[in-house]
């Protein structure tokens, strides 16, 4: 889930005026943008890492890993014709995690030196020993070979931090102008850029240097009709991506048209913010007078930007093994996808059309890295095959709990100062094998709704019952889009919903939806994750009307 996302763009930007760090977006210190291009020599990091590992072993640790992280962020915030804020932040420090007396301990410091690293290691061992007195189950790590000195870098074309701020501001203001020209009353836009320079070392003998990049352009358009007092919004159909600034150079081949009559364009590996801002304003305006939906059962045709969030909430989260086992019971919750269902080998999570895969590899995705935050090489694995639940998402200290001897490589920490733990990898619905276009998919629907863009979302703590909205809704009658709808939300049960999956379009329609701020853990941590899918049909889903009246 994305707890931090309910902080809207408006409040995000307003808060940033007063705070050195942007809520929900990194926790660094404000710096001159020029500092965002600097790198630290891995040899220096190796000396500090060794100091931490040696100190941990001397203090009695049976295992230790150290993460020396430099986390760089830049956020540019605008509304209408003006810049609201430009924030460049850096956070640099060391986190040391140890096992002593069979118990985890963690400590972090912003004293980035050999002495600081050693002291953090000693503190971590002290915490592990204090907690081991009340500990019952010993930590057991899946074996992991050391990789020696290796490195990995997100394959970007252009580092967004190298692009002059003036150029980035100009692009956002041009998008705002497009929205205003097309009838928007208000528009907020923002560009987030992230670079994680992460150095990982462990007593297994790995020294892993990684340079990870992410980018997220977005906006929200609002149209206010003063006469009726009504207002409607439409958010951008961009996705946060594991790409450089090249994401903002639109290519025709990356544009995917929605069904005929829908006025929706989806985006693959590049994004046309100007085109989308104009479309958003027109659609927000149309929403004010769109027909209010008649509640009932409809066949839903869901675009990948929308479906990504449904996959995230109803498949990605319930298959996190820590949730299944109860480790998140006090916060995010547990899971309906219990071990007995998995062990049976025949739990029908979805229909035969449903093939869901986890990975940390897909180029352009937010999850893509070479190694995870506990030094495991990343991979791809099946979660659901032809509708049957076949596996979970797990890390080193969880594998033995389900009788496996290998981590899936999906351990992550949002910064050097937070302890790493199991996080959601990319979780994607494989496209259909046979050729099937969006228009062909819609043609077979007698009474349905096409939904594009992700909107309101809520799901229970075991991931049974969910309700989703969207950005734009179109009625489908007798195989054709007939006009826009409003006040649409659908409610379903996860297993029933995925078993109602009738067909998914072919690979030519496949693209990512992504989330920058997936929240989990206590203290809460944020992670970024992508979900690939093609436009997909679900039959007979319960749709409610969300319009109300207040006095």
């Amino acid at each position: 889930m994305k707890r931090r996302d309910f902080v809207g763009l408006t409040s995000l930007a307003a808060g940033a005026l007063f705070l050195p760090s942007i809520p929900g977006f990194g926790m660094g210190n404000a710096v001159d943008p020029a500092q965002l291009l600097e790198q630290v020599d891995p040899a220096i990091k190796k000396r500090m890492a060794d100091a931490a590992l040696n100190a941990a072993k001397s203090a009695g640790a049976s295992y230790a890993d150290v993460r020396i992280g430099r986390y760089l962020n830049q956020g540019i915030f605008t509304r209408e014709k003006q810049v609201q804020n430009i924030a460049s932040t850096e956070s640099y420090g060391i986190g040391v995690r140890v096992i002593a007396n069979g118990t985890w301990g963690f400590a972090a410091t912003n004293d980035v030196s050999e002495a600081g690293a050693a002291k953090a290691a000693q503190t971590a061992v002290g915490i592990a020993k204090a907690n081991s007195k009340v500990q019952k189950e010993q930590v057991q790590l899946a074996p992991q070979k050391g990789f020696g000195e290796v490195s990995w870098k997100t394959p970007i074309v252009q580092n967004a931090f190298e692009v002059p701020i003036a150029q980035k501001v100009a692009l956002l203001l041009a998008a705002n102008a497009k929205a205003l020209d097309n009838g928007a009353s208000f528009v907020n836009s923002a560009l987030f850029q992230v670079n994680e320079q992460k150095y990982f070392a462990s007593t297994d003998g790995s020294y892993i240097d990684q340079d990870v990049h992410r980018i997220y352009p977005t906006f929200g358009v609002t149209v206010v009709d003063r006469a009726s007092g009504k207002f409607r919004s439409r958010q951008a159909l961009s996705s946060p991506m594991g790409l450089g600034y090249e994401y903002l150079t639109p290519k025709a081949a990356d544009k995917v048209a929605g069904p005929a009559g829908s006025d929706v364009t989806g985006y693959k590996m590049s994004y046309d913010i100007l085109e989308d801002a104009a479309a958003a304003a027109k659609q927000a305006k149309a929403k004010i007078t769109a027909k209010s939906v008649v509640p009932g059962k409809y066949d839903l045709v869901l675009d990948p930007h929308h479906l990504g969030l449904t996959i995230h909430e109803s498949v990605g989260h319930p298959l996190e093994l820590d949730r299944v086992l109860g480790y998140e019971a006090n916060y995010a919750g547990t899971s309906f996808a219990t071990l007995d269902k998995w062990k049976s080998g025949k739990f029908q999570y979805g229909s035969k059309e449903v093939n869901i895969v986890a990975d940390k590899l897909q180029p352009g995705s937010l999850g893509a890295v070479g190694y995870d935050d506990e030094g495991v090489k990343t991979k791809e694995w099946d979660l659901i095959k032809q509708g049957i639940l076949v596996n979970y998402e797990k890390i080193r200290d969880q594998a033995q709990m389900v009788g496996q001897n290998e981590s899936d490589g999906c351990c992550y920490s949002q910064s050097w100062q937070d302890v790493q733990f199991q996080r959601m990898p990319n979780v994607s619905l494989r496209p259909g094998q046979g050729k099937l276009s969006v228009d062909e998919l819609v043609k077979g629907v007698d009474k349905g709704i096409y939904i594009a863009g992700n909107g309101s979302f809520s799901i229970d703590q075991q991931r049974y019952n969910f309700q989703f909205g969207g950005q734009v809704f179109y009625a489908i009658e007798k195989g054709k889009i007939t006009g826009m709808l409003e006040d649409v939300a659908y409610q379903a049960n996860t297993q029933e919903f995925w078993n109602s999956c009738a067909a998914t379009c072919d690979a030519s329609d496949y693209r990512f939806a992504g989330f920058f701020n997936d929240g989990k853990g206590q203290p809460a941590q944020s992670s970024a994750v992508s979900h690939g899918s093609a436009t997909t049909r679900f039959n007979g889903v319960n749709v409610i009307n969300t319009a109300r009246k207040i006095g």
Binding site: R3, L19, A30, V224, A329, S458, I550
Partner: protein, 444 residues
Amino acid sequence: MAILSKDEAQTILKKVLGFTTADECEATLNGQIGGNVRSARNTISTAGAVDNVSLAVEARFGKRSGVATCNQFDDATLRRCVQRAEEIAKLAPESPEYVPLLGPQQYLAAPASFAQNTANITPDYRAQQTAASMKLCDTKKLSSAGFLEDSAGFIAKRNNKGLEAYQQVTNLSYSVTVRTPEGTGSGYATADYNDISKFDAARLTQIAADKATGSVAAKAMEPGKYTVILEPAALVANTDASLLGALMNAFDARNADEGRSFLSKKGGGNRKGEKMFDERVTIYSDPSNAEIPDLTFSGDGRPQKKMTWIEKGVVKNLYSSRFWAQKAGIPDIPRPGGWIMEGGTQTTADLIKGTAKGILVTRLWYIRPVDPQTLLFTGLTRDGTFYIENGKIKHPVKNFRFNESPVIMLNNLEAIGKPVRLAGNLVPPLKIRDFTFTSLSDAV
């Protein structure tokens, strides 16, 4: 060095301001020590410690502003931090929403927001409190997951227009979820404190354990409109969005004036002065309240004072940025920290006694906006939902999804109980009629 005294902090801030050549300059020091312990399955899973002081410097040349931060305090570092803020300011575009920094301010006398016993917490204290909670569940053969987090800190501000502020704050928050071994029952309890002398993890765990065992074998009831008793944890939360939290988050004057809030008026303007809620609804904020002592100044240095937001159902005040207050010619009121909903003397148990038919809700969860126009939210009940008949709890019921607006809810008010502290607010349990449940959930 994490908790600096007022003199120590202001000495550093004076030095910082002495280094600037900017037209305006404001410096803020923020320090914190603390730690946390997390447990699940009756065993500790992770634990951590925090210790940091950071300085933020905002420099301004005309309408251009830049911020830089550092966390070391030798003269050279401080000087470099100021220079960086000045360099960033020179590169920044002019802000059309510029307002000058505030001059000297009068703040309320600092309430008891800092407690030494909270600042003295050790890793052993956290482990012992957690152990007491886990032991209770071991004995009862229940499974617990808990989180304890504490901090002690200070904030100090100073600018070259004469503003000066300083306050210390401590906090501990604890929550625990208890589940039956087969996962057929679940309960929750949470509490937070400035002063930990009343904190007892085992006592809270007992409440959660009773809810867990009491919620086994829940019966399904048809979704629809029901009279509900919402316990405080169903109204506010420190971990997630909440119905009353969402209501108070929507009291921004600018959004209302711009036509994109439930407080916007048809044709323009906002609904300040209108009666929008039941006349028994009064919500105010007060940093001096002894039960929720809070900061007496806001992030931008404006004084936090006692302020009424809703009085007898009437919208009394909206908060805004300084820029919007000046532009719109409205009172310049910062957004509050915690807030207080006035109530009566009845406990949740008393409210149950006075209910012929209804549903008791321990907690609402995964609350998300559906329609900002009507402040409609959706979410689910969790960790203890019970059917009430003739003043008594009859049996547990399966969890529901709701679709409801706090505006509608506070018009359908049947009774208000006695406020208790939760997430830094004072919140009473509420009895509400016609609360809208739209579907059932199998989740426990």
